[in-house]
């Protein structure tokens, strides 16, 4: 099912004398989600991603704009008529019902022509439980399950009524790190298997990058960038997107461009063709550093950190906006921990320039 959002806007009115200004939670969201894709809505908390999800599922009404599922306008449709499955951040499993009763609950709501016989319901429950591999837990209460198992039950409950769209609100935030990795693979598998258009909300860029077909980066209700995860990572449109994506995060410097050359402090580090002169923010991905004895960039070494496959070098530089710079180089490059400074050359594709005024990306031509 293709989902189209047309100029979707949600404003919350100001409340009382203390907060008189209205809050624009989602501002003019315009996007078409292709059929059968897994889309990650990504942003820091308060950026409007959960509001967007609630608008799509119908728990909130948009202030303006329209929502289409396929060709149907569902903007004014109540949530129960939209055919959406929603998985809540805290799962919202009914604690007094068993897993089986929880999964069956949406089916028992069906009326008229859609009404199912007991046998059909039992079959559907088993099918949904099989999809998320919880057949053995059907007669337990949610309180007796681990977080990961509860998550699966919640997904099964959302899937059992065969929704046109599956929505997941922070699906992994309540799981521990190991389970998070496992469950996100699981979500990917279930999505592929069922082919249901799925939208999930997360503040964890790792999560979004790893399993999404498309990611939507939001900030303060405004969509910043939409694209395939790798594209967004390689070509951030502004400083916010560059800072938000990537672990370890991008290293930020205050630099200047003069005669198509980029300066960080005293160091003349990179040739940036076509970039206008002036002060700029410079973002350099951790993998954008090349350890060279005669490198152009002079940094004071704090310590190298060996992490098996890679070596991470923590250093400082006068132009850095952060207290330290973190660069990742391959383990073969030996760094003497006793040395006082290191020198780097930069990979031009991992270096981004941003305007100091509107923080937008300043393109430059890379000399081959």
């Amino acid at each position: 099912m293709k989902i189209t959002l047309e100029h979707l806007t949600k404003k919350f009115p100001g409340r009382g004398r203390k907060n008189p200004t209205e809050v624009i939670a989602v501002d003019d969201f315009d996007f078409e989600i292709p059929d059968g894709r897994l889309v990650g809505l990504l942003g820091p908390s308060g950026c409007g991603k959960s509001t967007t999800l609630n608008l799509i599922c119908g728990l909130l009404k948009p202030t303006s704009g329209k929502i289409f599922f396929g060709e149907d306008d569902v903007t004014d449709l109540a949530p129960e008529h939209r055919g959406v499955g929603l998985v809540f951040q805290n799962y919202a499993l009914y604690p007094h019902l068993t897993v089986r009763q929880n999964i069956q609950f949406p089916l028992e709501n069906l009326k008229g022509a859609d009404k199912l016989s007991k046998q059909e319901m039992a079959d559907r429950v088993l099918e949904a439980a099989g999809l998320v591999q919880i057949e053995a837990l059907l007669d337990r209460k949610p309180g007796e399950l681990s977080g990961g198992q509860q998550q699966r039950v919640a997904i099964a409950r959302a899937l059992v009524k065969m929704p046109r769209v599956l929505l997941l609100d922070e699906p992994l935030s309540n799981l521990d790190a190991r389970l998070r990795l496992q469950t996100r693979e699981e979500i990917r598998r279930i999505q592929k298997q069922t082919g249901i258009t799925t939208i999930f909300v997360t503040h964890d860029q790792d999560e979004a990058m790893s399993i999404s077909d498309l990611i939507v980066v939001m900030k303060d209700g405004v969509v910043q960038q939409i694209g395939k995860p790798q594209e967004v990572y390689d070509n951030p449109v502004n400083l916010f997107v560059a800072k938000f994506l990537g672990t370890p995060p991008i290293n930020l410097f205050s630099g200047r461009v003069k005669d198509e050359m980029l300066y960080l402090g005293e160091d003349q580090v990179l040739s940036v063709k076509d970039a206008p002169d002036g002060e700029v923010y410079v973002g350099i991905r951790p993998e954008g550093f090349l350890l060279r004895e005669d490198g152009a960039m002079h940094c004071q070494l704090v310590r190298p950190e060996v992490m098996g496959r890679d070596v991470s070098i923590v250093s400082t530089h006068e132009a850095s906006e952060n207290p330290t710079i973190r660069s990742i180089i391959q383990a073969e490059n030996h760094v003497d921990p006793e040395a006082s400074h290191v020198q780097f050359d930069l990979r031009p594709r991992k270096v981004f320039l941003f305007s100091k005024t509107d923080e937008k990306r300043i393109p430059f031509r890379i000399e081959e």
Partner: protein, 296 residues
């Protein structure tokens, strides 16, 4: 751990002492009195030991009337007040504007003096030489003939007593239930809405089970409270409840101790122990039932 245990008991001693002196000891004492025939407070003497007190009380028509009154009161007021309180709480929680104001209004009767409320009910229901009372005026307006609610037929009096009791116990129940309702996480309602659950089904399948512990707490305390009813009857019908035929078990105990026919602590004790047994039995049944139905 051992040391902590000893210390823990040390902290509990004051509470134990008070409970022992003012609760356990009197309870045992009442139990003992109930088997001592013709016990006299002043001379601390009695004629003999046996079950005569129980036999007397159980054959006393006033006591049987009191038991009947109390049982009718319990059976009518507990379900009615709990059900009404549930309805009102659901209604109160679903309105948005002025919710706090309404909750305060509904709680006001709780802080009002029982006897003052009794006075108001007298004015509403009592038939005097000058006026038939407000309720009778209403009955007239609808073409009925007036009923004497305070000195008239038994069922009229019982109706007033039940009405009064329900009205008095309601605020506390509404308070408990509105807070129970507001403690249900709204995400359950959201989940149910997305799944297309009807409002009735949301109420019976989600709301009710979620607040069932509070509901059973109210039923149990409601039963106990109704069994101990006394001041309500006095407020409406005056102190001579036996004459009015509206005595309750606690009223009977009081009359046996201090009333005009008073001065019989042995009978009073026996009646008190009988009440204790009734309340204990009902509470046990309640707990057994709630274990089956309060599922979480």
């Amino acid at each position: 751990m051992e040391k902590n245990n000893a210390r823990g008991f040390l902290y509990l001693i004051p509470a134990f002492l008070f409970l022992g002196a003012f609760l356990i000891y009197p309870l045992i004492d009442v139990f003992v009195y109930s088997f001592e025939e013709g016990y006299n407070f002043a001379s601390q003497t009695y004629f003999g030991v046996g079950t005569y007190n129980y036999s007397y009380v159980l054959h006393d028509p006033y006591f049987l009337q009191a038991v009947k009154n109390t049982l009718i009161l319990v059976i009518i007021t507990v379900p009615v007040s709990t059900g009404l309180a549930l309805l009102l709480s659901v209604a109160l929680s679903s309105i948005k504007p002025l919710q706090d104001l309404f909750q305060t209004i509904y709680f006001l009767p709780y802080v009002t003096n029982t006897l003052a409320v009794g006075l108001v009910f007298m004015i509403l229901f009592k038939k005097t030489a000058y006026s038939d009372g407000l309720v009778n005026l209403l009955i007239h307006a609808f073409g009925g003939s007036s009923v004497d609610f305070i000195d008239g037929p038994y069922w009229a009096k019982m109706f007033v007593l039940c009405f009064y009791t329900v009205w008095v116990v309601m605020p506390f129940k509404i308070l408990i239930l509105t807070s129970a309702l507001s403690s249900v996480n709204p995400m359950y309602y959201h989940a149910a809405r997305v799944d297309g659950t009807s409002r009735l089904r949301i109420f019976t399948k989600i709301t009710l089970p979620m607040i069932s512990p509070m509901l059973f707490y109210l039923v149990i305390t409601g039963f106990i409270g109704a069994f101990k009813a006394y001041s309500d009857a006095v407020a409406l019908f005056g102190v001579n409840l036996n004459a009015a035929g509206m005595n309750t078990i606690v009223g009977y105990v009081y009359d046996m101790l201090y009333g005009n026919s008073g001065g019989y602590p042995s009978y009073a004790s026996a009646a008190a122990i009988l009440l204790f047994i009734i309340v204990l039995t009902i509470t046990c049944i309640n707990l057994l039932v709630s274990k089956k139905h309060v599922t979480y």
